[in-house]
Amino acid sequence: MENKLEAKNVNVFYGEFQALNNINMKFKENAVTALIGPSGCGKSTFLRLFNRMNDYVDSFRMEGEILVDGNGIYTKDVLVDELRKGIGMVFQKPNPFPKSIFENVAYGLKIQGIKNKAVLKNKVRKALQQAALWDEVKNDLDKSALELSGGQQQRVCIARALAVEPSIILMDEPTSALDPIATAKVEELIHELKKDYTIIIVTHNMQQASRISDYTAFFYMGDLIEHNKTDIIFTNPEHERTQNYITGRFG
């Protein structure tokens, strides 16, 4: 397996505050990597580096390099909108657009200039099928996405990200606002998706990380403490701090 993503000597600052300290990390292709750690440890900030979503924070500053498929994405000549077409993102709270289910999923395609109705219909259906939502909504595609349940909304958001056919999906605590049944569905979905996608998921839920990820990285106070195969992290971690966190002694 290739290294799909890489962080090299990454430091991140918000004004005077340093949020990440010299992070070096590689992500394997078509694998799920979970980022865990207590609140404020920098894992979400780290996740958002890969599609440059931190750019909108006024005081944000980064040193070091982020490589996607071997190419630096923080160089001047990078077109951020092009970059994001290859990297989908799913957010903490389901955030569908206040439009129909169809329009939600088709949006990413439409802004790329795809107007052909048949093509759009086809891709929307494919994306909804991948997101395991098609059977539930196939007769209601014109219904507002806001009328769906939380779990369904989150799967619309996943379908929306999949529709533009990215190779990487970033997930920022995608199940934290969902009930256990909806969470189980999304987890199952992540398991399916990793065949074709490189997935990075931030989670607060230890069991979730152990269930769905191949690799796990533990962050603490802006440092990457440990990064290894998930079963090793959860059964035989190198660092005491990791051990303490996963056994629930702090955090």
């Binding site: 599609n51 206040p98 949006y107 990413g108």
Partner: protein
Amino acid sequence: MTRGQINRLKDKAFAYFGVFCTLIGLVILAFFIGNIFYDGITRIDWDFLTNLPSRKAEKAGILTAWAGSIWIVIFTFLIVVPLGVAAGIYLEEYGEKSKLSELLEVNISNLAGVPSVIYGLLGLEIFGRLFGMGNSILAGSATLALLVLPIVIVATREALKAVPPSIRAASYGLGATKWQTVWHQVLPASFGGILTGVILAISRAVGETAPLIVIGALAYVPFTPSSPMDEFTVLPIQIFNWISRPQHEFSINAAAAIIVLLLITFVMNGIAVYFRNKWQKKINW
């Protein structure tokens, strides 16, 4: 009295005081409107709405005045909406926080408080004389557009602010540019708020008198305008003109014209409320 009794008494006292304060405004307004309706309602008939102005009170109508008002409203709308909405979008979505943008923001709020006569003088000098528009509808509309521009800018910004940041994040995350995000997601979601602001601004413009008098709007116009470069009068000026005459018949005419003006603003505000409710129902975050 115990502490609790005193507290409850204070509570009650304030409730009565509040009712009293609310009523003062309402009673005075009701009295004013009642008085006008009593004077003017019988004067309103088809002839009054379709007659040209005249030296004889009983033959005088408000055709040129309300036609002028409508011309003014349309052109003010056409000028202020693109300017105000675009400026609001820039300040809220594009502009970066800096000393300059802060200064700009404070000044936009201040502009809303500048007396309208000052805008009239500005309009006279810039649109009337410098641009050579004279005392035309276009000069008047441009001046009024300037006057209500801050209202539209502020309303646009408030409406944009009310759109949750998560919607923008979702759009950017899919590779949308800033403009695509604004055009496809943020603007449609804030349309109701912007429209409300625009209609309130326009209702304010309908009632403005002073800047148009300064511009040189006429009190006596014996024709309805047929192009934006024509001279014009508007309802408030017609009212002002009639009120300042000594004959009682003219003040009845003024009362009738006030009723028409009130109806126009009332209907416009009603439309604003209707759209706001309709769009708020549609979008429930």
